[in-house]
């Protein structure tokens, strides 16, 4: 370990920052986010199978694994190897661009669908501290506004995918879902304002500190949480709001003309956005990496404690992901006019009323 310490000590402050952030970013994306994405897909298939009384993926396994006693068949039955096979298959597929597409945008759209999903994780604190290093990629003061800014950019991936395909169903899917996303961005922005009225800071670390002291925001702002949750479903294009795809109406929406990894990036982007928004909900409403007992609500002092904090955060996030999956297989799809009605006619007055009521309560509390 000594040579590592010496090496780090030899770097300037700026280089250290760059090195540590690069390590955090690589770990967060390749060790945490992408494995979660891959296995959420598996869990989704298994849960849907359970709900529909099927078995789900239980065949895929590398050769000879079934000769391992007990463990081999179990792993195969759980479908542990399915995501690996899926990923490999996406790479091996013929990468076909039909001649009627607009080539540049056809290539650009999948990138624009994936990048914002990865960028949103930057401000989410996924743990307290590891040594002296804060467990957040970028501790920004404008925290939540950064997230909303990036989320608002994720419209382009979809609208350009619809435009690039130069084909009717993808175009309709792309336009529909971009109108849906911008509608629910307002609901999302309005819903969390009461939280920041109470905290008095846009930094997400401050939100967690406040919750460690006063209790989770799900207790103080349940209306905010409900609105944010519904808006999150709409923003990530998940059922019951999966207008862009809505297979029975639009074939596969903007995905229709895509194949191989280009489709894979849309797919991964959707799940990565789901993970990111779950992490955001954990941070805003469920106390982030804190738990109110066993002294888990203070910044970590030992390695074990910081690992526990990261574990707590991931556990809560996975719980919300399960909720996403469960809802998808429980509810039918909304009609498009119902969806827009909910966003514009119900959520905007509700969000504004929520803010005014919170303001009044804080005003009265201040009087006493």
């Amino acid at each position: 370990m000594d040579w590592i310490n010496n090496l780090i000590a030899g770097l300037s402050a700026g280089q250290q920052l760059a090195l540590f952030s690069l390590l955090k970013i690589l770990a967060a994306i390749f060790l945490v986010l992408l494995p979660i994405v891959a296995y959420t897909v598996l869990v989704e298939r298994k849960v849907s199978a359970f709900i529909q009384d099927r078995v789900g993926p239980n065949r895929t396994a590398p050769p000879f694994i079934k000769y391992l006693p007990v463990i081999g068949p179990l792993l195969q039955r759980l479908g542990i190897f399915q995501p690996l096979a899926d990923g490999l298959k996406l790479f091996l597929k013929e990468d076909f661009s039909p001649s009627h597409v607009r080539t540049i945008y056809f290539w650009l759209a999948p990138v624009l669908a994936m990048v914002p999903a990865l960028l949103t994780i930057a401000v989410i604190p996924f743990g307290s501290k590891l040594g002296a290093e804060k467990m957040v990629i970028a501790d920004l003061n404008v925290g939540i506004l950064y997230t909303f800014g990036i989320v608002s950019l994720s419209v382009y991936g979809i609208v350009l995918a619809g435009y690039a395909a130069n084909s009717k169903y993808p175009f309709l899917g792309g336009i529909r879902s971009s109108a849906q996303m911008i509608s629910y961005e307002i609901a999302m922005g309005l819903s969390v304002i009461p939280v920041f009225m109470m905290v008095g800071d846009l930094n997400l670390g401050a939100v967690i500190d406040y919750q460690a002291k006063h209790g989770w925001f799900i207790l103080y702002a349940p209306v905010s949480f409900a609105m944010f949750l519904v808006a999150a479903f709409a923003e990530t294009n998940r059922l019951p709001f999966d207008m862009p795809e809505s297979e029975s109406e639009l074939v596969a929406g903007y995905n229709t003309e895509y194949s191989s990894m280009k489709f894979g990036l849309f797919f991964m982007g959707e799940y990565a956005a789901m993970v990111a928004v779950s992490g955001m909900m954990v941070t805003l409403f469920f106390g982030g990496w804190t738990l109110p007992f066993w002294g888990l609500d203070q910044p970590a002092t030992s390695l074990l404690l910081s690992a526990a904090h990261i574990g707590v955060f991931l556990g809560k996030t996975l719980g919300l992901l399960l909720l996403f999956i469960w809802v998808r297989w429980m509810l039918p799809r909304f009609r498009y006019d119902q969806l827009m009605d909910l966003g514009w006619k119900r959520f905007i007055p509700l969000g504004l009323a929520n803010i005014v009521v919170t303001a009044l309560v804080l005003l009265l509390l201040n009087r006493n």
Binding site: N141, I175, I182, L202
Partner: protein, 166 residues
């Protein structure tokens, strides 16, 4: 480091701005709109270097994320074909040049008129809290007028896009 980044972002802003209005490779309006998005993003990079973090976030949220989506929708609403607008009308050229010159004169005059002021104390500029305190004390009246402006815009857009009464 900061100076280097400033030059990078400034050059990118100018480059993307140029590609937005006079792209030699493509006359596709969607391409122009996408370069305008990139211009907005590099401008928000400049805001960050000025420590105006709130403005930078709002620049991306409102301009890159909202106004440009509207532009894309309008382009698709009008469904401009790439060949349709290759010829420039003389009237459009003259009025365009006149307004650009007017804007240029205004810009030069306002820069010359303000004089070079000392950079305000760092870290005080971009803080959302300070911005809020100023907005809700010193600039309260302009803030309230903004709401009337938004109201007018809202009514205007509804009237414009409404179907003719039968």
């Amino acid at each position: 480091m900061e100076t280097t980044l400033f030059y990078i972002f400034a050059a990118l802003t100018l480059l993307f701005g140029f590609l937005c209005v006079a792209n030699p490779f493509s006359r596709n309006p969607v391409t122009s709109a996408m370069f305008l998005v990139l211009t907005m993003i590099s401008i928000s990079g400049l805001f960050i270097l000025l420590q105006a973090f709130f403005l930078a976030a709002v620049q991306i949220l409102v301009y890159a994320g909202a106004v440009m989506v509207l532009f894309l929708f309008v382009i698709m609403l009008l469904d401009l074909k790439e060949a349709e607008h290759t010829h420039v009308r003389k009237v459009a050229l003259v009025t365009g040049l006149v307004s650009v010159m007017g804007l240029g004169v205004m810009l030069v005059l306002s820069i010359a008129g303000s004089g070079i002021v000392e950079a305000p104390a760092k870290r005080a500029i971009g803080d959302t809290k300070l911005l809020g305190q100023l907005l809700f004390s010193k600039y309260l009246l302009p803030f309230e007028i903004v709401s009337v402006l938004l109201l007018v815009a809202m009514i205007g857009v509804i009237l414009l896009s409404r179907k003719e009464a039968k």
